[in-house]
């Protein structure tokens, strides 16, 4: 039986928005793991916060909880604690989980909650028509910083890794197959999986040309269990080259396992 993951909701992202690529990658990822019987579709619950990314829950015929701005993460943990059989996947924006809800991100990583969090990383508040956010570069000119952003950006991967995430990865929305694979590995990972998805905003901050020639995938023999290597890799400058792949993956008891021990 073919899985029908679409809904009647009209897609209201800008035509050509890279969020659609994330949607396609996720549909393919789910379709495959359901067909492979790795997951029953009714056991999957998806979440979103508020921002352009947040519309994704409407476009998927899957159990969903469309949360408040920045607050999806504790809700995801709440669902996982209540029913550990469920697979929990959250879509969040960089403004959503690195500005508004950063405390929740840090604590979910700290407790190694068995959930996956996909960050739509466009380095801008887009739905509110273009202001700087926690990941915007210093000097970025947005509507609230006409003379340029005076703050340095956060490194989301470093925050996740240093807070205790047991799966830390980066992918690029434009690479649908690569993103699909990372999503599947994140969903199958036991523990807190953090995936930074570079998602250029074609309307307010189009970085497609910037990233196109800089991205590259980690080698197959990259040592995923090496914390220091991960630390080195995710703190590398992204001026010249931007690495994609799974930087870190570790097996560790999850919060929910400890809760029911």
């Amino acid at each position: 039986m073919n899985l029908d993951l679409s809904t009647k909701a009209e897609i209201t992202w800008c035509p050509g928005c890279s969020n659609s690529q994330i949607l396609v990658a996720f549909r393919q990822a789910v379709d495959e793991i359901v067909k492979n019987k790795e997951l029953k579709i009714e056991d999957l619950v998806i979440f979103s916060g508020i921002g352009c990314h947040g519309k994704i829950t409407d476009y998927l015929n899957i159990n969903s909880f469309t949360s408040l701005h920045g607050r999806l993460v504790p809700t995801m943990t709440g669902v996982k604690c209540a029913n550990p059989n469920l697979k929990i996947v959250g879509f969040s924006g960089d403004g959503d989980s690195l500005d508004e809800g950063i405390a929740h991100l840090i604590h979910a990583a700290k407790r190694n909650s068995d959930i996956s969090l996909f960050i739509h990383d466009n380095k801008i508040f887009a739905l509110t028509t273009g202001q700087f956010n926690a990941l915007s570069s210093k000097g970025f000119k947005g509507k609230s910083t006409p003379e340029g952003n005076i703050e340095e950006p956060l490194n989301p991967l470093l925050i996740a890794l240093s807070s205790g995430a047991t799966f830390v990865a980066r992918t690029y929305a434009g690479d649908i197959q690569g993103t699909k694979k990372i999503m599947q590995e994140a969903i199958n990972h036991k523990g807190f999986a953090f995936v930074d998805i570079i998602q250029p905003c074609i309307t307010f901050f189009d970085t497609r040309d910037y990233f196109k020639d800089k991205i590259y995938w980690l080698e197959d023999n990259y040592p995923r269990d090496d914390f220091n290597k991960a630390l080195e890799k995710i703190t590398e400058s992204t001026q010249e080259k931007v690495s994609l792949g799974i930087f870190y993956k570790k097996d560790k008891p999850t919060f929910e396992e400890e809760l029911y021990k």
Partner: protein, 504 residues
Amino acid sequence: MSDNLDKNIFTIGVGGAAGDGVKSLGVKIGEILCNRGFNVYLSLDYPSLIRGGHNFIRLSFGKEKVWNDYTKLNVLVALNTETEQKHKNELKQDAQIISKNNHEEVLEKIKSIIKIKGFESANFKGLPVQAGQLIEGNVAFAKGLQAAGLDFYIAYPMTPATSVLHYLAGEQKSSGIKVIQPENEIAVINMALGSAFAGKRTAIGTAGGGFALMQEAFSLAGITELPLVVMVSQRQAPATGVPTYSSQSDLRFVIHAGHGEFPRIVIAPGDSEESFCAGRNALNLAWKYQMPVIVLLDKVLSEHMITATLNETKMVEKGKIARETDLNYERYKITEDGISPMAFPGTTNAVIKVNSYEHNEKGITIDDPEIIKKMIEKRFSKMKNLETKIQNIETIKIYGDENSKNTIIFFGSTKSPVLEAAKYLKTSTKLIQIIWLEPFDKNKVKAALQTSEKIICVEANHNGQLASLVSEKTGIKITDKILKYDSKPFDPVRLAEEINNKII
């Protein structure tokens, strides 16, 4: 008024520094008295610190129900010299002072004083074996939640709500409930909504400040129609205020909590027995009506102990659960009573979508004015349905002389000093306790006030919030108020004086 209004009531004070074991000694005395068949009321006064300072427990007890403690002391147990200094003006004429540090010696001394005073032989003949259990409002509330089948309790520590967290955390092994302490109050309520969405009976608890942090997600509970119990224990505010002292200043805050318009239930119990019932009813109501239910306590009710008899029978109402689900399942299906059958993630064939955006019956985001209107009406139709049912619920209680033209009206922990003060009122008086603050039972309250010529509202806040609420809902103006906003509990003797002065 004389010290010895009621010779049948005996009061013991226990004071010392934090760390001296004031509370454990006081509670031990209370339990001994309770086990001998006395009715006990125990108050607890402490500043916000860990070592040093001055902690004070006061126990009043007697053969009949004692609703409140009294300021004047028959016995003062001074675990340090500061206690004698601080409380010398509260001693009755023949009061005794016990200055010992050893708890066992203090207990022996107290037992002998009670004997010498003839409490066991003369004034207290025919006591039952045990009057009940000595229990504070918080623990009684928590037991009520358990009796309604609580699965999850999620909280961030905040006085005076914390003892619910402590009590339920200790219950996990024996009862199977789960207790989680997340990073902040915002995480607490959002996590709780996740747990409720997955089908678990969930409650959270905090004080006014913590509930202030939860406002956005409280509104989310409203639009997602997720069942959630929120215990709010008031303390002296604004802001950090006076953290270990009491207040009833959050009445207006909780009945209007959250942005936007959505139905909620607010219940304010007045003693430990009512706190138990409120906990049990709240969880059942939340699941029956799929809406947030607030139980409003305060520091006095949360932490003071009273002899109570709890009927701990389990009562679990599961609410409207979808029996059969198919691909057409709609979480927000419009029904006659406004309540949509609930299904939980993990159900074969059903896709369950909840949404903080306004949504259609399926749970998909919409901005169509017709659907917006319909969904708001759907949610409020549950309230309409509930308003017809409350006539069979004890939303208010009436004590004293039902035919009196003098009326005292109150809510929450003020029940204790009002009922104790009523023992000393010079004229017959009708006492009305409002238990349900939202929906407000205007029919019953109006009927109860109709024949009153003099109405006095007693509450622990500056603005007379209950008085204004009663006026708003019934059209009956209340101008006589006894308001206390110094954060300290009412003394029943002084309260009786104030009421007597107003009634004459």
